[in-house]
Amino acid sequence: MKSELMTRFEDELRNALRRQQPPQGFADRVLARAAEIGSRQLNRAWRDLWLKIFDQPLVPANLLRWATVTVVAVALVAGGVYYRSVQRERAQGEAAKQRLLLALRIAGSKLQLAKTRVDQINSGQVNSDKLHSDPTANQQKRE
């Protein structure tokens, strides 16, 4: 059981250790520091967000690697197919050109032949006309 003196001593101790008010403006200084830290944290959060957006790939690295390989492979195959089709078209064009030239040559020679025949016919017709128009010539011819 506590003695009366000890109880009184404890009361004096309570008195001595009563709460004290902090210096004037303490709360304002704390709030100012908190506001400063808050704005710094906000700035850091924005900076981190931007860094995250620009620094980190939007797709995982593994997926990006496979996507690159696929794109390159598809591009190679498509390029090969396109090259083959261009080559084929060019060959077909060349063959068509050759056929056309041949056809033109044939048509040209046929026309030449026809012209020759026409000329021949025309020259034969002229001679017969001459015979009809000159009786002596016709008679001589008959004789």
Binding site: R18, Q21, A34
Partner: protein
């Protein structure tokens, strides 16, 4: 003296006004630091740091009671840390400078200011842990179990240390001033 805490919903306090929490608990935090360090400017610095830590942790604290408990715990541990970091020497009562005598705030003037100042000096001359136990017991009016929870110590150890610290203090008072309440 135990801090009166509002019984409002926890979310209001947690999400609410940090400024209100600072204003409500500033004297508690500052006084623990002041009575431990016996240096008003160091006590203010430590109290500010405690509130900055609270600002960062506020969203994790669940209730007003939790905030008060947390503030007492963090302030106590920071006091001990500061003592270890700055290697505050164990000073005898006679070696305590006159500047370590604390000024009382207006309105909290004790009945016997001389005795109160002497007691503050005596408390400041105690070893760190014992000093903290006395401050939490007589400033904050906490039970041994509450102090044990704050300092992560067994309640029985708190009780025995507290009794020893009190006997030491009483002995010093008697030796330097005569018996308290004896009318001398």
């Amino acid at each position: 003296m135990a801090e009166p805490v509002s019984a409002g919903p926890a979310a209001d306090v947690v999400a609410g006004d940090f400024a209100e929490i600072v204003r409500r608990h500033q004297s508690m935090v500052f006084s623990i630091a002041l009575h431990f360090l016996a240096d008003p400017s160091a006590a203010e610095e430590l109290a500010q740091d405690v509130f900055m830590q609270l600002h960062a942790k506020l969203s994790t604290l669940k209730s007003p009671e939790h905030i008060v408990f947390w503030l007492r715990k963090v302030t106590s541990h920071r006091c001990i840390d500061r003592m270890r970091r700055h290697r505050m020497p164990q000073v005898s009562l006679e070696d305590l400078p006159e500047s370590s005598v604390l000024e009382f705030s207006p309105g909290v003037q004790p009945a016997d200011p001389f005795l109160a100042r002497r007691l503050q000096q005596l408390v400041a001359s105690l070893p760190g842990k014992a000093r903290l136990l006395v401050i939490l017991r007589y400033q904050e009016d906490l039970s041994a179990e509450d102090i044990a929870e704050i300092l992560d110590m067994p309640a029985a150890t708190v009780k025995s240390h507290l009794q020893r610290a009190l006997a030491m203090l009483h002995d010093k008072v008697v030796r330097t001033m005569g018996e308290v309440g004896s009318g001398k």
